[in-house]
């Protein structure tokens, strides 16, 4: 798929250098990567390796220090280029659940009736219909993450950018939401860049898995995951799944060891 002539996302030698009090800090180093239309790309790497930084640059929320990073616009100019599911949820505490989900549409001037309809539809799909008029402080952490995911989906962007959307969840809720994500992705087939700490999650969800090195964040390896879709939680029992996970894990643990030795 990487050979697709017109990639949806194209990164060419993307580098991010932060100016800090103690000098330069390279967070992302020489990132070159294409993502095809409709591809699900997962990124894994040790904590602090620059995953969120890369995603923020991709979202246009932070400048690129050098290199080029573009998302190819779609045919409809009204469709937003990207929507981010933030690592910290970032749903607005001062808006109700349904107002949060309808936020992107509201900013684009969609009428109140229509945007609440769309938002309600998404809340129904993820089992949050009853909580539409609750404020975020009244719902659980898992629900908040679902709201934040659905806010991005309701915005119907060209590209979905997800930063550890299931990161802070307990194991059971996590599995439920992984299934939900798989189902929704099968239906929408959006281009997704998905950051996660979990190798299982990366292999389960991704068409490809990018493994990043510890600081400075470089691409160590890109794995094509040739496991047929539709996938589900049972996919994790396949022998192929274990093989991929094992291969990535070997490489990652060597990297983590190297990073720890460097710090000493």
């Amino acid at each position: 798929m990487a050979s697709n002539p017109a990639p949806k996302i194209s990164a060419r030698n993307v580098t991010k250098v932060y100016e800090t009090a103690s000098g330069h800090m390279t967070a992302v180093d020489d990132f070159t990567l294409d993502v095809a239309e409709g591809e699900f790309l997962a990124i894994v790497g040790p904590s602090g390796c620059g995953k969120s930084t890369f995603l923020r640059m991709l979202a246009g929320l932070e400048d690129v220090s050098s290199g080029q990073l573009t998302i190819r616009p779609g045919t409809d100019p009204k469709t937003p280029l990207n929507s981010v599911v933030f690592q910290e949820y970032a749903i607005f505490p001062w808006k109700t659940v349904i107002q949060n989900v309808a936020f992107g549409l509201q900013m684009r001037g969609v009428s109140e009736r229509e945007r609440l309809d769309v938002a309600q539809g998404w809340l129904d799909r993820v089992g949050l219909a009853k909580f539409a008029d609750h404020y975020p402080h009244q719902i659980s952490g898992g629900m908040k993450q679902r709201v934040s995911i659905v806010r991005a989906l309701a915005n119907d962007p060209e590209v979905l950018l997800m930063d550890e959307p299931l990161g802070a969840l307990d194991a059971q809720t996590r599995v439920v939401l992984q299934e939900e994500l798989l189902r929704i992705w099968e239906e929408t087939r959006k281009t997704v860049v998905y950051i996660t700490h979990s190798l299982e999650e990366a292999v389960l969800l991704g068409d490809r898995v990018v493994l990043m090195s510890a600081q400075p964040g470089r691409i160590l390896e890109v794995y094509d995951i040739d496991i047929p879709r539709p996938r589900s939680i049972e996919t994790m029992n396949l022998p192929a799944f274990a093989l991929y996970r094992g291969a990535i894990w070997d490489r990652l643990s060597a990297e983590v060891t190297r990073a720890m030795e460097m710090q000493q």
Binding site: P80, W94, M107
Partner: protein, 342 residues
Amino acid sequence: MTPVQQDRRAVLGFLLAIVGLHGALTLSGQWHDWAWPAIAVSFIVLVLICERIGRHVPLRARKIYERTLALGFPALVLAVWEMAGAMELISPVWFPPPSAIGRALWDVTVTYDRFSETSLLGRPWLIPQEFRAGGLAGVGVLLSESHVLATIGRVFAGFLLGAIPGILLGVVMGINQTVRLMLDTTLAAIYVLPKIAIFPVVMLMFADPFGEGPKIVVVALAVFVLMTINTMTGVRTIEPVYLMAGRNYGAGPLQMLRHVILPGALPVIFAGLRIALGTAMIVIISVEFLRAKQGVGFMTYYYWEVLIPEKMYAGLVVVMILGVTLTGLLHWLQRRLMPWKR
């Protein structure tokens, strides 16, 4: 013995101790000399009694118990105060008994002071009569003699004139680093200046230094500085990720203000408004002490000059009632504007 019986016995013992202490002192004719230490000891024993009782209050009666403590104790203080006055433990000149203050409060409410040409509320019961005689203008003249309305009017006008520009400038300073760097030091310097110290300068600026203008402006200035600093802090402490979310979901500058920045800063803005209200009360009462022919502060000071202490206290009571009412109003507004905090 069960704990209940134990505590019941203890409460009884404590009560007897209080009665015994005061009884013994009275009988030996020494109560007058030892009254204050005896009252202090009684207070401590009273706390012990209430704690014993509190242990056995069932959960559903808890609210009633707490309210009884919260309202009952001030009532007890008033009673002791009244008694201490009657026993000549305290001078009625400095501490007139609550009953006298109550009577004075009634007195200033219903009577018109010919000398200062004022009354506390503006004698609202005369409104129908004045309306028949002079129409709305007549009612206006009547109400313009009111101390309370004069003070409330100044506080409201000053508050609005100060808070609205203050919040606007605070937002700008919160968003724009250049403006912030240019104004921050100046504001911090004005912030520590006691606002009443500006009053003479403000009077200089007005053609009529004794009119309403300087009074309102000095309140407005105090509120303005406070609200600017608070709003700026509120805007600056919004989690950056909310700003990123706003931008990422396509909010323009005005939408950012309306949907992210203002609601994000609102809790801190309201905390600022409450502080500003307290400051506004201090400033307006001081200003009325200094230069006014009307107002609750003027009234209090006036009765000091003519030495009617119970009416002075009546003035203080009115100031307290005003403060509590205005704070309640602010709470109401906060609940309306910030439903997400319940």
